[in-house]
C-alpha cells in the first residue's frame, strides 16, 4: 500500500456517469421541485429507476475504490441536486441499515427505503425512544410516532417501499432494548400523517409516521431479539450497536452529500466571477489578495479537507477498519464547512446570490440540513470528543 489520491478507472467512470446524469437530468428540474414542494418528481424517479440506478458498467477485474467510489457517486448526484438525490427510488439510508445491521432480505429489491428513528421527544438522543414493539403471537406490534423520516412518504405509501422503524422491546433495558423492524409499505397500522415544510431539500419528503398496533412478522426484526441489559454497545448485539454501525456507514455518505452541494456552490461562484473577468490568483502575494480571492481559496481548502476526511472514513470501511471516530469527523467537518461555504457564496455573489434566479440561495438552504440530520454538528463533535478523550458516554454527556 502507499498513500495515493488517484481514482481508479472505475471511480472515474462512475464520476463521469453520474455527473452527466446530474447535468442532464437533475439540474434542469432542480428549481421546479424546490418551488413545487411535496410534488413527486416523476420524470426523475422514472429516469433513475429505468436508466440511472444500475450505474456505469463496472470492470470488476480492475481495482475499485469501494466505499470511496460510493462517496464520489453521491457527491456527483448531490452536485446535481441533493433534494432529488434524496427522492430517489432506492433503499438509501434504509438500505444501509438493512445492509449493515442485519440478515433480512426482502422480496425482491426494495426500492423506497426510509429510516424511522427520531421521535418528537427524542432527537439525537436515540436511547430515549418511546415507540414500542411487543411480541404478540408470532408478530411484532409497533406503537408510536416517528418524525423526520426522509423518504417516508415513498417508503410507507408506494409499492416496494419499506420503513425501518426503531423501537424498544423493553423500556427498562434502555439502549439495550432498542431494535429495528422492517415495515413494508401499506402495512395496516402505519399511517402517513404529515409532510414537513422545510428550509431546503424541498423535493425530498420528510414524513411523520404514526404506528398504531402495526403488526409485522417475527423475522422483520433486524438482528437478534435478545435484550442485553448491560452495556449493549460493547457486545455483539445487533440492536443498538447495529443502529450505531448504520451511522458509521451513513455518515460518510451524508458528508459526501454535503460536499456535492458545496462544490456546486463553489463552481457557480467561480463561473460568475470569471464572467466578470475575475480569476483567483493562487500565487498572489498575501498583501495583494482581495477578499474574494482569499475567501475562495479558504473555501476550496475547507471543501477539499472535508472530502479527504470523508474518503478516509469510507476507505476504512473498505478495509474493515472500525471508523466510528473518522465517520463522525467527516460528518462534523463536512456539515460545518459546507454550511459556511454556501452562506459565503450567497454573500460573495451579492444581490444575485440572494436572488432565486441562481441556485446559490437554494444550495445554502439545502446544505444546512447536513449540519442537522444523521446527528447534529454537536452530536458528531461529542462522538469525536469521546473517542479522542477515551471517555464513555457517561463520562462525557
Amino acid at each position: 500500500m502507499a498513500i495515493s489520491f488517484e481514482l481508479t478507472d472505475n471511480s472515474r467512470c462512475a464520476r463521469d456517469f453520474y455527473r452527466k446524469m446530474a447535468v442532464e437530468q437533475m439540474r434542469p428540474i432542480a428549481r421546479r421541485y424546490d418551488v413545487e414542494e411535496h410534488a413527486l418528481p416523476t420524470e426523475w424517479v422514472d429516469y433513475y429507476w429505468e436508466h440511472g440506478r444500475k450505474g456505469p458498467p463496472t470492470d470488476f477485474s480492475t481495482p475499485a475504490d469501494g466505499m470511496v467510489q460510493v462517496c464520489i457517486q453521491v457527491e456527483e448526484l448531490c452536485w446535481g441536486d441533493a433534494a432529488l438525490y434524496l427522492r430517489m427510488p432506492t433503499a438509501s439510508l434504509g438500505g444501509a441499515a438493512v445492509g449493515s445491521a442485519g440478515t433480512f432480505k426482502g422480496d425482491g429489491p426494495p426500492i423506497w427505503g426510509a429510516m424511522a428513528i427520531t421521535e418528537p421527544g427524542a432527537g439525537s438522543d436515540t436511547a430515549a425512544i418511546q415507540t414500542t414493539a411487543d411480541f404478540d403471537g408470532d408478530e411484532w406490534v409497533l406503537n408510536g410516532t416517528k418524525i423526520f423520516c426522509t423518504n417516508g412518504e415513498g417508503a410507507s405509501q408506494f409499492e416496494g417501499g419499506f420503513v425501518v422503524v426503531w423501537a424498544t422491546v423493553d423500556k427498562s433495558a434502555g439502549r439495550g432494548g432498542i431494535k429495528s423492524f422492517v415495515v413494508p409499505a401499506k402495512t395496516p397500522g402505519m399511517k402517513l400523517v404529515g409532510l414537513e415544510k422545510k428550509l431546503g431539500i424541498r423535493a425530498s419528503d420528510t414524513a411523520t409516521l404514526l404506528f398504531e398496533n402495526c403488526r409485522v412478522p417475527a423475522d422483520h426484526l433486524l438482528g437478534s431479539a435478545k435484550v442485553r441489559k448491560k452495556d449493549p454497545s460493547k457486545t455483539g448485539d445487533k440492536g443498538f450497536k447495529g443502529a450505531m454501525a448504520t451511522f458509521d456507514a451513513s455518515r460518510p455518505i451524508v458528508a459526501a452529500m454535503a460536499i456535492g452541494i458545496g462544490r456546486a456552490s463553489l463552481d457557480l461562484c467561480r463561473d460568475e466571477l470569471e464572467k466578470q473577468g475575475i480569476r483567483i490568483r493562487y500565487d498572489a502575494p498575501r498583501c495583494d489578495l482581495t477578499v474574494i480571492e482569499r475567501d475562495f481559496i479558504d473555501m476550496e481548502a475547507e471543501l477539499q479537507a472535508a472530502r479527504l476526511l470523508t474518503w478516509r472514513a469510507a476507505w476504512m470501511m473498505n478495509h474493515g477498519k472500525p471508523n466510528n471516530l473518522e465517520a463522525s469527523m467527516s460528518k462534523a467537518k463536512a456539515g460545518l464547512a459546507v454550511t459556511k461555504i454556501t452562506q459565503k457564496v450567497v454573500e460573495l455573489l451579492g444581490p444575485i446570490g440572494y436572488s432565486q434566479k441562481l441556485l446559490a440561495e437554494k444550495w445554502m438552504r439545502d446544505a444546512k440540513v447536513n449540519d442537522i440530520y444523521e446527528g447534529t454538528q454537536q452530536i458528531n463533535q461529542l462522538i469525536v470528543a469521546r473517542r479522542v478523550l477515551d471517555y464513555s458516554s457517561s463520562m462525557l454527556r
Binding site: S124, E196, L199, E347, P351, G353, Y354, S355, R365, I372
Partner: protein, 362 residues
C-alpha cells in the same frame, strides 16, 4: 458624558413599539412569509402609531424628530417582530426622509402629505443593482440631462414595491456624482418585475429596468443643490444594522427558550455547555452590535460624518445576525429546519444583510 440609557420619551416609544412588535407583528410573521403577503391591518396600525411621520418635516405634517438614535431604537424593535413587515412599515421613510432632508419645497409638498396622511402610503428607494461588483457610491445606472429632462438608464433590484406607493427614489450617477431622482412608478420606460429571493418573502420587491426613463429636471432631489447620497447610504446602513440587531434578538430569544424547554439525555439542552456557551456568545454579540449601532446613530445626530462608523456597525451587525440566526437553527436541531418554526426564516432574512445596503432609513 457617556450614557447608555435612552431619554424618557425614547423609552416610551421603545416600550410601545416593543409591545406592538410582540403582540401584532410577530404573530403574523410566519403566515406573511408563507403566503408572501403583508398583513395590511398591521401596516395600518403601525401607520397610526406614527413612527415614520415622527421623523418627517414638521411643516408638512411630520414630527420633526430627526434623531437617528430614536430611529435605531424603533428599527430594532420593529425588526424584532419581523424584518419583512418592519421594512414595509418603515418604507415611507425611503422617500420621506431624503425629501425631508434634501428636498425642495415643491418636492416636500408633492411627496410628504401622502406619507403622513390618514392611511398608510409606502415609499421606495432604488439603489442596489443586480451585480456582485455593485458599488453603492458609484452605481452603473446613469442620469443625463437631455433638453430640460433627465434620462435615466440602468437596472436596479431589491426595490420595495408595496401596493400603496406611487414614487420611487432612484439613485443614479450624474457625471461623476451619485444623485437621487423622484420617479413616479408609472413613468414610461420603467419596467418592474417581482422578485423572489432567499428571504424577505413577505416584502414585495421588484427588479426594475430603467430604459430611457424621462423625468423633468425638477425630479432631481434637492433641485440644483442636489443631495448627499453618501449621507443617505450611511443612514441606511445604520438603520439596517439596527434591524439586524432586532432579528438577532428574536432568534436569540427563541433559541434560549427552546434550549431551556427541550430535554435530551434527561436534562434541558441548555444545561449543556456547547449549547449554553453558544447562547452566551449570542447575547454578548447582540449587545456589542447594538452599542456600535447606537454610537453610529449618535454620531449622525451630532452632525458628524459617520461613513466609517456606519461600515463598522453594519458589517458587525450583519455578521452577528448571520451567526446568531444560524445558531438558532442549530439549537432547534431538526425543528430549526422546519418552516413551522421561525428560526429558518430569520436565518434566510439574515443572509441578505451583506447585500441589503439601504432597504430602510432612519
Amino acid at each position: 458624558m457617556i450614557e447608555f440609557e435612552p431619554t424618557e420619551e425614547q423609552q416610551l416609544i421603545v416600550d410601545t413599539v416593543r409591545q406592538f412588535a410582540a403582540n401584532e407583528i410577530r404573530p403574523q410573521a410566519h403566515d406573511a412569509a408563507e403566503s408572501r403577503k403583508l398583513p395590511e391591518n398591521v401596516l395600518a396600525q403601525a401607520h397610526e402609531l406614527g413612527l415614520v411621520a415622527l421623523g418627517l418635516d414638521e411643516a408638512h405634517g411630520g414630527g420633526g424628530d430627526r434623531s437617528a438614535v430614536t430611529g435605531v431604537l424603533i428599527a430594532e424593535e420593529l425588526a424584532y417582530g419581523d424584518l419583512a413587515i418592519a421594512l414595509a412599515i418603515l418604507s415611507p421613510s425611503l422617500t420621506g426622509l431624503p425629501v425631508t432632508e434634501f428636498g425642495t419645497d415643491p418636492q416636500k409638498a408633492e411627496i410628504l402629505p401622502a406619507l403622513v396622511g390618514p392611511s398608510f402610503c409606502a415609499g421606495s428607494l432604488a439603489l442596489i443593482e443586480p451585480d456582485f461588483r455593485f458599488d453603492p457610491f458609484r452605481p452603473t445606472t446613469r442620469a443625463a440631462l437631455d433638453g430640460g429632462d433627465y434620462t435615466l438608464r440602468g437596472h436596479k433590484c431589491f426595490v420595495p414595491w408595496l401596493d400603496s406607493g406611487d414614487h420611487v427614489l432612484v439613485i443614479a450617477m450624474e457625471d461623476d456624482d451619485p444623485q437621487a431622482f423622484l420617479v413616479p412608478r408609472n413613468t414610461k420606460g420603467l419596467a418592474a418585475t417581482p422578485e423572489r429571493n432567499l428571504g424577505l418573502d413577505a416584502l414585495p420587491t421588484v427588479e426594475i429596468e430603467l430604459d430611457d426613463v424621462r423625468v423633468p429636471a425638477s425630479a432631481r432631489l434637492g433641485g440644483d443643490a442636489g443631495c448627499d447620497v453618501h449621507s443617505i447610504i450611511d443612514r441606511g446602513r445604520i438603520a439596517l444594522a439596527a434591524t439586524a440587531v432586532g432579528v438577532s434578538r428574536a432568534a436569540f430569544e427563541i433559541a434560549r427558550d427552546y434550549a431551556k424547554e427541550r430535554e435530551a439525555f434527561g436534562a434541558p439542552i441548555a444545561t449543556k455547555q456547547a449549547i449554553a456557551f453558544k447562547i452566551a456568545d449570542m447575547a454578548i454579540e447582540i449587545d456589542a452590535a447594538r452599542l456600535l449601532v447606537w454610537e453610529a446613530a449618535w454620531l449622525l445626530d451630532s452632525g458628524a460624518k459617520a461613513t466609517r462608523e456606519a461600515v463598522l456597525a453594519s458589517r458587525q451587525a450583519a455578521q452577528v445576525a448571520l451567526v446568531v440566526t444560524d445558531g438558532a437553527v442549530q439549537v432547534l436541531g431538526g425543528y430549526g429546519y422546519i418552516r413551522d418554526y421561525l428560526p429558518e426564516m430569520l436565518h434566510r432574512n439574515a443572509c441578505g444583510y451583506t447585500n441589503f445596503e439601504t432597504l430602510t432609513l432612519i
